[in-house]
C-alpha cells in the first residue's frame, strides 16, 4: 500500500515540476504571451478605427491568457494551476476563439484513439514476434524476423508514414489523406461515420504501430531465450503441459517483465511523436492543434496542449508503475538502500 501512495505522490510531484518548468518557459517567451496579445488587439482596434483603451485591453489580454503580468512567476504559476484544477480554465485560445479546454477536449478522444490503438497493437505484436523469434531460435524464421525487426526498428517512424501517405493516400487513393471522418457523415452510431472513422484513422494508427512495435521485440527475444533455459520451464515440460500453456503462462509472462519498463518509456515516445504523425496525416488531434497554435502564436493553446501531453504521460507511466507491482511481486524490495 505504501508503495502505491509513494508512486502516486511521486507522479504528482513530477507533473507539477514539469508544469513549472514549462510555465517558466512560457513566461520567458520573448515579449511574453500577454504582450503579444496586447499588440494584436491594439493593431486590430487601430485598423477598425476604434478607441484604444490600455487598461481595458490589458484586462482582456489577462483574461485570454490567464496571466497577470504584475504577478511573479511563482505567484502566476500558482494562479495558473489553481485555475486549471478548480475551474478547468486553461485560458482562451486566440486562434480558435474558444476556451482552450474546449478545443483540447474535443480533440483529445481522437488523439487517444490513434495513440492508444497504435500502442496496444504495437505492444501485442512486440510480445508475439519476440516470443516467436525465441521459440524458433537459430532457424530461418528467427534470422528472417530479426532482419525484418531491425529494419523496422531503424527506419524513422515518419518515413513509413510518408510512404503510406504517398502510396495509399495519393497514388492508389484508397485511404483519405486528412481529417478525422468524412465531411458528409453524421457523427453518431451509423455505418458511414464508423467506417469513415476507421479509414481516416487507419494510416495514423498503422504508423504509430510501427513506432511501438519494433522497439521491444529484440529485447523480448533475448529475455525469452534466457528464460527458456531455466529449470522451471523444463519441469513444466516434463509435467506434460501443453505447448500453448507453457508459452503463455510460463514463458511470455516472465519474459515481459524486463521490457515492461521499455513500454513505459515507449508511452511517452508515442504521445510526443503524435505531434508529427498528426501533422503529416492532417489529423486534428491535440498534437495537430498544438502545432497550429504555435504558428498562430496562440500561447494559451500551446501551453494547454503541453499540459495535456504531460498529464497523459504521467498518468500512463503511473498506471504502468502501479500494475508492475501486480505482475511482478518482487518489485519495490530495493527500497531500503544504504546511501554513501
Amino acid at each position: 500500500m505504501r508503495y502505491y501512495v509513494q508512486r502516486v505522490f511521486q507522479a504528482i510531484i513530477t507533473f507539477v515540476g514539469g508544469l513549472f518548468l514549462t510555465y517558466c518557459l512560457y513566461r520567458l517567451m520573448p515579449g511574453g504571451p500577454v504582450q503579444a496579445i496586447v499588440a494584436r488587439i491594439v493593431s486590430r482596434r487601430v485598423r477598425q478605427g476604434r478607441p484604444v483603451d490600455a487598461q481595458e485591453i490589458g484586462a482582456q489580454a489577462e483574461r485570454m491568457t490567464g496571466i497577470n503580468p504584475e504577478h511573479g512567476i511563482l505567484e502566476g504559476f500558482y494562479n495558473y494551476v489553481f485555475n486549471i484544477v478548480v475551474y478547468q480554465d486553461f485560458g482562451r485560445s486566440i486562434g480558435f476563439s474558444d476556451p482552450v479546454f474546449d478545443v483540447l477536449f474535443r480533440a483529445m478522444p481522437w488523439s487517444l484513439f490513434i495513440s492508444g490503438y497504435g500502442l496496444l497493437l504495437g505492444f501485442t505484436a512486440t510480445v508475439l514476434v519476440g516470443t516467436l523469434m525465441a521459440w524458433n531460435e537459430g532457424t530461418k524464421t528467427d534470422s528472417g524476423l530479426t532482419v525484418f525487426v531491425l529494419t523496422m526498428n531503424s527506419i524513422p517512424y515518419y518515413v513509413g508514414a510518408i510512404f503510406m501517405l504517398v502510396i495509399f493516400g495519393f497514388e492508389w487513393g484508397v485511404l483519405p489523406t486528412g481529417g478525422r471522418f468524412p465531411q458528409s457523415a453524421e457523427p453518431g452510431f451509423n455505418a458511414e461515420f464508423m467506417i469513415g472513422v476507421v479509414s481516416h484513422g487507419a494510416m495514423p494508427i498503422l504508423s504509430t504501430f510501427i513506432l511501438g512495435f519494433a522497439a521491444g521485440s529484440l529485447g523480448m527475444r533475448a529475455n525469452t531465450v534466457r528464460i527458456m533455459g531455466s529449470d522451471y520451464l523444463r519441469s513444466a515440460e516434463l509435467r506434460g503441459l501443453s505447448t500453448n500453456r507453457i508459452l503463455t503462462r510460463y514463458l511470455a509472462r516472465n519474459a515481459i517483465l524486463p521490457i515492461y519498463t521499455g513500454l513505459v518509456i515507449g508511452i511517452s515516445a508515442v504521445f510526443s511523436s503524435s505531434v508529427v504523425t498528426e501533422r503529416i496525416f492532417q489529423y486534428p488531434g491535440v498534437g495537430w492543434y498544438m502545432l497550429e497554435a504555435l504558428e498562430l502564436q496562440d500561447y494559451p493553446l500551446v501551453m494547454g496542449g503541453f499540459v495535456f501531453f504531460a498529464g497523459l504521460t504521467v498518468i500512463a507511466i503511473l498506471i504502468a508503475d502501479l500494475t508492475y507491482g501486480l505482475i511482478d511481486p518482487r518489485a519495490g524490495d530495493a527500497a531500503s538502500r544504504e546511501s554513501f
Binding site: S154, I162, G229, R279, I280, F306, F340
Partner: protein
Amino acid sequence: MTDDDIQSDGGATKEEIFGTGDAVERARTPPAQRLKRMYDIYVRTPLLVGWSDWRTRIGGLGILFYILMGTVGVLIVPSPQINEGPNFLGPFEDFSIITGTDYIGRSVGKQVVHSTPAMLQMALAGIVFAIGLGVLIGLVAGYKGGTIDRALMTVTDVFIVLPGLPLIIVIASIYPPRDPFLVGSILAINAWAGLARQLRSQVLTLREEDYVEAARAMGLGTPTIIMQEIMPKLAPFILISAAGAATAVIVASVALYFLGILPFTSDNWGVMMNFARLRGNAIANPGHAGHWLFLPLLALSGLTFALTLFSQGLDRVFNPQLRARHSKTVTDDEGGEP
C-alpha cells in the same frame, strides 16, 4: 621503496600497497612497446571484436561511409548550383545528373552530400549533450544514493514525463536555434533522462560489488570511484547509448525541419524534404518531385539503419552474458526446441 625496508613477506614481491606493481612495470617497458600495448587494448581488440559480428561490421562501415561523405565527400562533390539541368528532372533520365534536380535545377544528389556535415554536427552535439548529462546524473545518483539520488531522480522523472517533441517545439519557438550544434543540443534535451535512469539502475548493482566496497574502504573519493571503478564497467553501455542518442537527434531534427518548425539556416535533409513537399508537391504527386523527397529520406534511413545495426551489434559483442547464453543454447540444445 628500498631494499632496506622491512617487508612482511620478506621482500618476495615488489608490489606496493594495494597495487599490482603496475608502476614498476610501466617504468620498465619502453615507450614504443607501451604504445603498442595501448593500441592493442584500446584500438585493435575492440575493432576485432566488433568485426566479428555482422551487425557491427555493416553498421560500422555504414557510419564510416556517412562520416566520409560529410568530410571528404563534400570536398570531392562540387556544391550544387542553380540551373545545372532542367527543373524537376527525374532520376535516371540524364546520366550526368543521375539523381534528378529540384525546382531550380539543382542536383538532388549533390544537395544530399552537402547536407551531411550539418546532420553529423547535430548528431555529435546531441551525443555530447545527452551522454554527458545522462552519465553524470545517472552515475552520481546511483552511486551516492539517499537524498541526492532522490533529488536527481525527481529531476530526471520530470524530464522523462515532459513529452519530448512538444517540449522541443516550444523551446525552438522561444529561442529559434540556428547553429547545428545548438539544434543538436536542444533536440537531445530529453534524451539524457532515459539514459540517466538506465545507468542508475546499473550502478545500483555495481555499487554493492566487492571491489567498489574495497575502494570505498581505502578512502577514495566519490569522483575517483565513479570515474575509475564504475565508469569503465559501463563504457560499452554508454557507447551503445551514444549511438541511440545520435539516432534520436537525427530523427527528431529531420522531422522538425520537414514540418517547417525549426528555422531554415543550413541545408539539411529535413529542409530538402520540406521544400520537396511544399514547392514540389512531392507527396501528392510523387512522379513529379518524388525523387527530391525520397533521396534525403533514403539517406536518413540509411544513417539510422547503420547506427541501429551498430548499437545492436555492440550490445551483442559487449554483453558476455548474452553471448554465453547464446552459445549455450546453440551448442547445448537444451530447452531450445519445443
